[in-house]
């Protein structure tokens, strides 16, 4: 949707310390220039196509479509990107912008490690310094990803404040950025944060739906009836929706992590359960108590385990242009297993939230209707935790 100085309806904005305001303005200006510079666009396009492995496939899920017996299902296969998720689309864009701005150093937050790995990857490729902020809880749960990030030449800072998870890593990265803006660019990992981040992430991820639109038109000759994607901060979802937002006949559905249930405390279904607030640089929907203290949230999926959501999604929800549904851990794990057995795809547990909704939606639709479901990432990283969830011992 169109944005006016970073505002999406009542959401968005730049709620950051004064220290960062000039830097944000610089990024905004540089980004607007870059956006209109064919050379920059070409650079982004080159790395997307020759490094990240785009365009990603739009593949027909024949067995699943047959099995569910309703709409025809197509997968947008972001899991086939280099590093295994949509995250790379965004980091390529931001890192090239950083380079253009003369920065030599990237910092980023990470939860389970996905965005950290993506950022470290692009830093290695571009020969930039890289430091990753990661909650201490997460560094201990995900030692392997810490090592992976270090393998790529980046440094990992365990964050020991707050609940020591993703939101605290964002806090710490913001703080670190405040302390060193001159040579440093903060590569935000989702469609969140202060303007212009949600807009940049929207733009860099919209390659997903731009490709998908062309691909589905080539394949079926018409627009899809529905586009389904999972929503953490909302980057893969906004990327999947972007090119269809103006096509009002295309239903847009974001799948949030309902954890143990939308109505329980252990949930991360921000749009359904949260309320409007100001956090991490933006006005949007957040999981918070009545005072405005930010909640700790829960989902089996580390990538969806975030108490906020990008401002554009909050606005799309208010406008009823997109619909947001909660998917529980149980439903997501079932879907994870289902798509493995049916299509031979081990999809990320995040993406499995979208698949779970497609399992419900497709049978209610006609055979001549079409769903595009974004597989935001691959699930190799999740196999061990699914085994644990099922009570299978996979410790080596």
């Amino acid at each position: 949707m169109s944005t006016k100085h970073g505002h999406y309806g009542e959401y968005g904005g730049q709620f950051v310390p004064e220290t960062l305001m000039n830097e944000l303005t610089k990024i905004e200006t540089s980004y607007q220039e870059a956006k209109n510079d064919p050379e920059f666009q070409q650079e982004v396009h080159d790395l997307l196509n020759n490094y990240a492995n785009r365009p990603s496939l739009l593949s027909y899920a024949k067995r699943m479509s047959d099995d569910l017996g309703g709409a025809q299902i197509y997968f947008k296969r972001e899991d086939l990107n280099h590093t295994g998720a949509h995250k790379i689309n965004n980091v390529i864009g931001q890192a090239l912008l950083a380079k253009r701005m003369g920065k030599t150093r990237l910092i980023a937050e990470t939860g389970a490690g996905q965005h950290g790995v993506a950022t470290a990857t692009i830093a290695a490729l571009l020969g930039m310094e890289c430091e990753i902020y990661m909650g201490k809880e997460d560094t201990e749960r995900q030692k392997l990803n810490v090592y992976r990030i270090e393998l790529l030449g980046a440094k990992v800072h365990p964050v020991t404040t707050g609940s020591m998870v993703l939101k605290d890593a964002v806090n710490a990265a913001m703080q670190a950025w405040t302390q060193r803006v001159d040579d440093t660019f903060y590569v935000l990992g989702s469609a969140v944060g202060p303007h212009p981040f949600p807009e940049m992430v929207h733009d860099f991820q919209s390659v997903i739906s731009k490709e998908a639109k062309q691909q589905i038109l080539a394949e079926t000759g018409k627009l899809p009836d529905a586009v389904v994607a999972c929503v953490g901060g909302g980057s893969n979802a906004i990327g999947s929706f972007a090119a269809f937002i103006d096509d009002s006949e295309v239903a847009l559905i974001g799948c949030e992590a309902a954890g143990k249930g939308v109505d329980t405390k252990q949930t991360a279904a921000t749009i359904e359960r949260g309320s409007t607030g100001i956090f991490h640089g933006m006005k949007s929907k957040f999981m918070q108590n009545e005072d405005g203290q930010i909640d700790e949230v829960y989902s089996i999926s580390a990538g969806l385990d975030y108490p906020g959501v990008g401002p554009e999604h909050s606005a799309l929800a208010d406008m009823h242009r997109a619909q947001y549904v909660g998917i529980t851990d149980d439903e997501a794990v079932d879907a994870f297993e289902y798509i493995a057995k049916t299509e031979g795809i081990v999809a990320a547990i995040e993406s499995s939230h979208a698949i779970a909704y497609v399992k419900k939606l497709a049978p209610t639709m006609r055979k001549d209707q079409v769903i595009i479901c974004t597989i935001s990432g691959r699930g190799d990283k999740d196999v061990a935790s699914i085994a644990k969830y099922r009570g299978v011992d996979v410790d080596e």
Binding site: Q14, T19, D168, S275, G277, I278, K283, F286, Q288, G292
Partner: protein
């Protein structure tokens, strides 16, 4: 003229910061009174927040300790009420945008008026996002304290012109360069600000020793001490706090 101006009327002002509810609400009342007794001219009451991004580790931890005792916004209002039973010292709230937003701007401002709190410092509410709140604050004659930092540069004129109460010159940049360069940078900054306003300037730059206090007080109308007070509040007694404030205040007087 707001109560804040009184703080800068006499010699250089000493501004102290406490986290409401650390170590507990009762001691925070005592601490604020100790600050006043030690000679503080204004106190910033920090409302603890789950995610105080603009604060360093000492204050972050204090916020966390307060929240762990379930201190909520209502409790902080009650705390100020208790202070007001014994003291007239100028007060401002230091709080993050979300807490004010969730209270509702009207409600929160009314509460400030009731409690004779003169204004607010909101580290994550920069110039561009202040309009909605400012309308309500002005109606209630409350001061929104503007923060100005070494990175503000060409933003200084507009910030300075909007300033009311005092200007908080702050850096979250850590202390880089030598002490001398550092002093020069700040004097440049304060000189620049003074071009556009007569509102008093207070500096909060990680100050904790009397010597630092003296140096800083030469450049501005007041100094702000936060982390060191929070540390003493956590580790020591209101008595010790008062002695510390006395030393600092003496240094700048």
């Amino acid at each position: 003229m707001s109560r804040i101006s009184n703080a800068f009327k006499k010699e250089k002002a000493f501004i102290g910061f406490v986290v409401a509810g650390d170590p507990d609400l009762k001691v925070t009342v005592e601490n604020v009174l100790a600050l006043e007794d030690g000679g503080a001219d204004l106190v910033e009451i920090g409302i603890p927040f789950s995610d105080p991004v603009a604060d360093g580790p000492v204050i972050q931890d204090a916020d966390q300790r307060a929240l762990n005792q379930n201190v909520n916004t209502e409790d902080v209002f009650e705390l100020v009420r208790l202070i007001r039973e014994q003291s007239d010292i100028p007060l401002v709230f230091l709080t993050y945008a979300n807490l004010v937003f969730k209270s509702g701007y009207e409600t929160f401002c009314k509460k400030c008026v009731d409690l004779e709190v003169s204004g607010m410092i909101i580290p994550d509410l920069p110039y561009e996002e202040q309009d909605d709140l400012l309308v309500v604050m002005e109606q209630n004659d409350l001061d929104l304290i503007q923060l100005i930092t070494p990175t503000s540069k060409e933003r200084i004129p507009k910030l300075a012109k909007r300033a009311r109460g005092f200007i908080y010159v702050v850096s979250s940049m850590g202390i880089t360069g030598t002490r001398n360069e550092f002093k020069e940078d700040i004097s440049q900054l304060t000189n620049e600000i003074k071009k556009y306003t007569t509102v008093p300037i207070a500096i909060g730059f990680g100050i904790h020793t009397p010597i630092q206090a003296v140096e800083m007080s030469h450049l501005a109308d007041g100094i702000i001490v936060g982390s060191e007070i929070v540390r003493i509040a956590h580790e020591d007694s209101p008595q010790r706090l008062m002695t510390y404030i006395q030393e600092m205040k003496d240094a700048i007087s």
